[in-house]
């Protein structure tokens, strides 16, 4: 786990260093579109999380909370 996490951290640090000039508020029109949000349809996301966690060994990664289930 350590090396991928380290790689992700280094990638983020490099990306931050290589960042062009900060985007100004009046340049964010496209970024404000709903499709650009990381938070999408919550009910759909819950279904997806429940379905995948019931048939795969890995789960989660995008948030905290949410109860477990039998899912046998």
């Amino acid at each position: 786990m350590r090396s991928p996490l380290l790689a992700a951290g280094i990638a983020l640090a490099l990306a931050a260093c290589a960042m062009p000039a900060p985007v100004q508020p009046w340049e964010k029109g496209m970024l404000a579109k709903p499709a650009m949000s990381f938070e999408q349809d919550r009910l759909e996301a819950k279904y997806a999380e429940h379905i995948y966690s019931s048939k795969e060994g890995a789960a989660g990664g995008a948030g905290v909370g949410g109860g477990g289930c039998g899912c046998n």
């Binding site: 786990m1 991928p4 996490l5 992700a8 983020l12 990306a15 931050a16 960042m19 062009p20 900060p22 985007v23 508020p25 009046w26 340049e27 964010k28 029109g29 496209m30 970024l31 404000a32 579109k33 709903p34 499709a35 650009m36 949000s37 990381f38 938070e39 349809d41 919550r42 009910l43 759909e44 819950k46 279904y47 429940h50 379905i51 995948y52 048939k55 795969e56 060994g57 890995a58 789960a59 989660g60 990664g61 995008a62 948030g63 905290v64 909370g65 949410g66 109860g67 477990g68 289930c69 039998g70 046998n72």
Partner: protein, 376 residues
């Protein structure tokens, strides 16, 4: 409140001082909304329909006094079918029919460049009762180009299987999350989320033969997401990669791509593709059985010596592919209809970065969702 400014090109652009998409939750919703959705799910193995689920759900979002938002959701799963008892063997497993009800509630307080959320929920089945509480916070930089995410949650699950294999067992988990969302350009946003889940208690499956798992289960995850807006078409590409590793020595890689394409007349099409691969848990054993006891006991099995063992297909090494298509239709300003179809295929031979577990049957699943959201 967003201000406007005349851009050099002459077009009036929104000065989105606080973006709804930047971190997902730092802007109070301006409208209340109610969403209803229905899921129909069916999974299969060759010549066998395994588990089917019918699942209606409801979500309500209420803005309060401009600085608060209350969110509540209910879901009910009606599940029926047959699960394998070991590896992919379904023969001998009793068919089951079960109902799960779940509810959660969250309250978010919004500040100028921050938000704080408290949430709680419960999921209840005949043999499984889970309760959780969680908290999450976001803090943005002065220019709103960087947002930090912090989260923590605890869950307490009680397991009381109907076959009495165990009684009043518990599982407790602690979730921790740290993330950062960064505006990368006028058309790009990226996000990195690191997660750690610490679990203690009963993780075995009481309905499977020879399933004894460690009483500790820790998982680490890293999730990278990147959204890109295509100016020419008005479409959005959404790419994500997730890496997980856990104390079972199970490693997984997930890549997901969505392409959100708005069309004329209020229609939006979103095709999606997901690739998943995982290694086997260290205590998963292949379907090679002891010559004395036969299936499902692994070679050298001893009833006297307790050791961690599982023949659960979900802990095997395999790869999976999901293809999906979502269709949305905007009706007027405040109502949206959506329909989504997804097909999932799982094959041992599709595992990446290694070979898949031998002897697993092919597995597939189909899900259909239909929903409606109304805002006021």
């Amino acid at each position: 409140m967003a201000a406007t400014r005349q851009a050099p090109g002459g077009a009036i652009l929104l000065a989105a001082l606080a973006l709804p998409g930047l971190a997902g939750a730092e802007n109070a919703p301006e409208q209340a909304s109610i969403s209803l959705k229905y899921l129909d799910y069916q999974d299969r193995q060759p010549n066998l329909e395994r588990v089917g689920v019918h699942s209606p759900s409801l979500e309500l979002v209420l803005p309060v006094a401009g600085r608060w938002a209350l969110r509540g959701a209910l879901v009910s799963d009606l599940i029926s079918g047959a699960s394998p008892r070991y590896h992919t063997a379904v023969s001998g497993a009793s068919r089951f029919s079960e109902k799960r009800n779940a509810a959660d509630l969250s309250l978010t307080r919004y500040f100028a460049r921050a938000s704080a959320t408290l949430a709680a929920g419960r999921s209840k089945e005949t043999d499984y009762d889970s309760r959780f509480v969680s908290t999450q916070a976001t803090v943005s930089s002065a220019d709103n180009n960087t947002t930090w995410l912090f989260g923590a949650g605890v869950a307490n699950d009680r397991i009381d299987p109907v076959n009495r294999a165990v009684k009043d067992e518990h599982k407790r988990t602690l979730d921790l999350m740290l993330g950062v969302t960064q505006v990368l350009g006028t058309r790009d946003i990226g996000q990195l989320v690191l997660g750690h889940v610490r679990g203690r208690g009963y993780f075995s499956n009481p309905y499977k033969f020879v399933d004894t798992r460690p009483r500790t289960h820790d998982q680490n995850s890293a999730l990278l997401r990147w959204n890109h807006h295509f100016s020419a078409s008005g479409a959005t590409g959404r790419l994500s990669y997730r890496y997980t590793t856990d104390s079972y020595a199970l490693r997984s890689h997930t890549v997901q791509q969505e392409y959100v394409r708005p069309l004329k007349g209020g229609w939006t099409l979103t095709p999606s593709l997901r690739l998943y691969t995982q290694s086997a848990a260290r205590f998963y054993f292949d379907p090679v059985y002891d010559t004395r006891f036969g299936a499902p006991f692994p070679p050298g099995f001893s009833f006297a010596a307790r050791r961690d063992l599982s023949a659960d297909q979900r802990l095997a090494a395999y790869g999976a592919l999901t293809a999906g298509l979502k269709v949305e239709k905007q009706l007027g300003r405040d109502t949206t209809l959506d329909f989504k179809w997804e097909q999932y295929w799982q094959r041992a031979g599709w595992r990446l970065f290694g070979s898949g577990s031998p002897g697993l049957e092919r597995f597939s699943a189909r899900s259909i969702q239909a929903g409606v959201t109304h805002r006021w």
